[in-house]
Symmetry: C2
């Protein structure tokens, strides 16, 4: 093992012999070992019990062989810590019975040390995970992005389009910005606490930013993503993943972030061109494609790495792995990255080197 892990080196833009690989939602419902624990303990018991969160976090490292672990948790622990009830019932999606609509609602939210204090169980879990991982792979901490958390706080549940949340932003922009700032403040403290406990990198999931127009992304999403990145970047590498917001790639490439996550609805070539190779890119295999036959998965993984190039790249899915993926197919994805060999491919921006071979 190198003195620094492949994953961290790729995030820092250092030269690597192959791309690192992990999968969003890798600790989850496609693993029989996870389902066993799910059948015994409810969601928040799993999340809030450090021993369980630790076991679940490490499962895909042992079972699938990923190059990084990601904390088993949920983005909705932040609204919960800010005083809102969150119900997470399997197969039903999240429900927040008390939604945010007024100034009073925002004033009543818990912020500061009280909010982060309520997330102490996460720090405990991280310390335990780090001990159990024993430096085999790095650990990714994470949080939801402020706009995505606002979506759940305002709508009170999942939605196809989060119209209600967008309506709140458009009709009450001052309140929206107040709310976004409060979420940002808590999120920054929370991510620092994760780093204090041992997280080696952090990822910020803006799962619903792709519902925003480019102008509205610039108003309601980008400034808060930037603040989070700016605050954390001196301590650990940061990955911003505003799903669907391909139109913001150029702007994101000018922020402090180390890496940008992208979904499968953009070609690697387009993403490299929009980011001008300034940042490490992470993605972007269509999770549905893990249902293809294994030889097809292997072929498409190779094509994906050929297109992104080996450097400044973290192989991943473009969204979370689905419950119906056979474990063998997940392993095939991971192994296809680990076995990648292509001496004629060093990425789009090394055509000189490519010519030399």
């Amino acid at each position: 093992m190198n003195s620094e892990h492949l994953f961290i080196k790729a995030l820092k833009g250092e030269t690597v012999e192959r791309p690192p690989v992990w999968m969003m939602r890798q600790a989850g419902r496609y693993l029989p070992e996870y389902i066993e624990l799910r059948n015994k303990y409810d969601f928040f018991t799993r999340v809030q019990t450090p021993e369980l969160a630790c076991e679940i976090t490490i499962q895909p490292v042992d079972l699938v062989g990923v190059d990084a672990a990601i904390l088993f948790s949920d983005i909705l622990v932040v609204p919960q810590a800010m005083g809102l009830e969150v119900q997470l019932i399997e197969s039903k999606g999240p429900i927040l019975p008390q939604t945010i609509r007024t100034q009073q609602d925002i004033d009543d939210l818990v912020v500061g040390a009280d909010a982060v204090g309520a997330l102490e169980y996460v720090s405990k879990a991280i310390k335990l995970i780090k001990k159990e991982l024993n430096n085999r792979v790095p650990l990714i901490g994470f949080a939801g992005a402020p706009f995505t958390i606002l979506c759940y706080m305002v709508k009170g549940r999942g939605s196809k389009s989060f119209d209600k949340a967008k309506q709140f932003c458009f009709s009450e922009p001052k309140l929206a910005h107040q709310l976004l700032q409060r979420i940002t403040d808590v999120t920054i403290d929370y991510l620092h606490a994760q780093v204090d406990a041992g997280a080696d990198a952090v990822q910020v999931f803006d799962s619903w930013s792709g519902m925003l127009s480019p102008d509205d992304f610039n108003e309601f999403a980008l400034p808060y993503l930037t603040k989070i990145s700016d605050s954390l970047i001196s301590r650990v590498p940061v990955i911003l993943f505003p799903k669907g917001s391909w139109y913001a790639l150029e702007q994101l490439s000018n922020t402090s972030t180390s890496a940008i996550g992208i979904d499968w609805c953009i070609t690697p070539q387009q993403a490299r061109a929009m980011t001008q190779n300034k940042k490490t890119l992470q993605g972007n295999f269509d999770p549905c494609k893990l249902l293809s036959p294994i030889p097809q998965i292997e072929k498409e993984v190779k094509a994906m790495i050929d297109a992104f190039g080996v450097q400044k790249y973290v192989a991943n899915l473009g969204h979370g792995i689905m419950p119906n993926i056979p474990v063998d197919h997940a392993k095939a994805f991971v192994n296809a990255v680990k076995n990648y060999k292509n001496n004629i491919s060093y990425g789009l921006f090394n055509s000189a080197e490519r010519k030399l071979i």
Copy 2:
């Protein structure tokens, strides 16, 4: 009134004094007059009774003042005509109890004259609408795109991601292409029947193509959109609307289509650049923004037209109007387009003219 309508001229790329305007789903649930009819007649009674379809189609012309009418119908009348049961229950979304998974399922589908014959009620409705419209505005016919219809046929209902349908395409590509071709054949005949009856233009809605990666769009969506456009374009202007498939704009601009619909998740500048001003663009106001105060709507409509330019442009939403939009706000949107005046804006590609003013 000009000898040719503003809407048709804009689709053909002819010079217009202002952009035409209509709204997707303009005949629908935000109109009290529609809700009255909905409370009296079930969905397929409204769709299949020419007098009712006619009344509903014309409502937004009279009540909101749009520049084009669009046939009141549903994209799922095609799978219905191909022999599949379709249940459309208000507020529940569509259900197709009998899904397509095997060669036998595909072989059993109704095609050819029998399928189009089952849609005779649409031709009757169109003839009646044309008579009642009396050339006030043109009438748009429409159909769902083959990939989107496949999504419903395979999944059997709406979905956030249509994973099952994509899995079918990825694991059974031969069957998928057979199915797509059959849907395409029926759709082409169906759209020709709409033109025979009097439709002045046709729009093809690929509502779920944005779930596909660029490569998969090229395999499972684009060829069939192209076939439909190629077959219809010599008779009427064609609008292709593959929602979310921004990455295909350059390719779409090289097809025979007259116009391309776009959603709000792309700037007008990006869309113009990717299509190199070859095609008329239609869109792309975020439907949620119709919930903003009216002065804000007026301001943003003006900014939208400034950015697209007056020529080769059809003002529209980026998706269907929502049930909770006040009629006054819909009217404000339409009127803001009709009242557009900006002599210094003739679009991005007339900077020479712009300098002259």
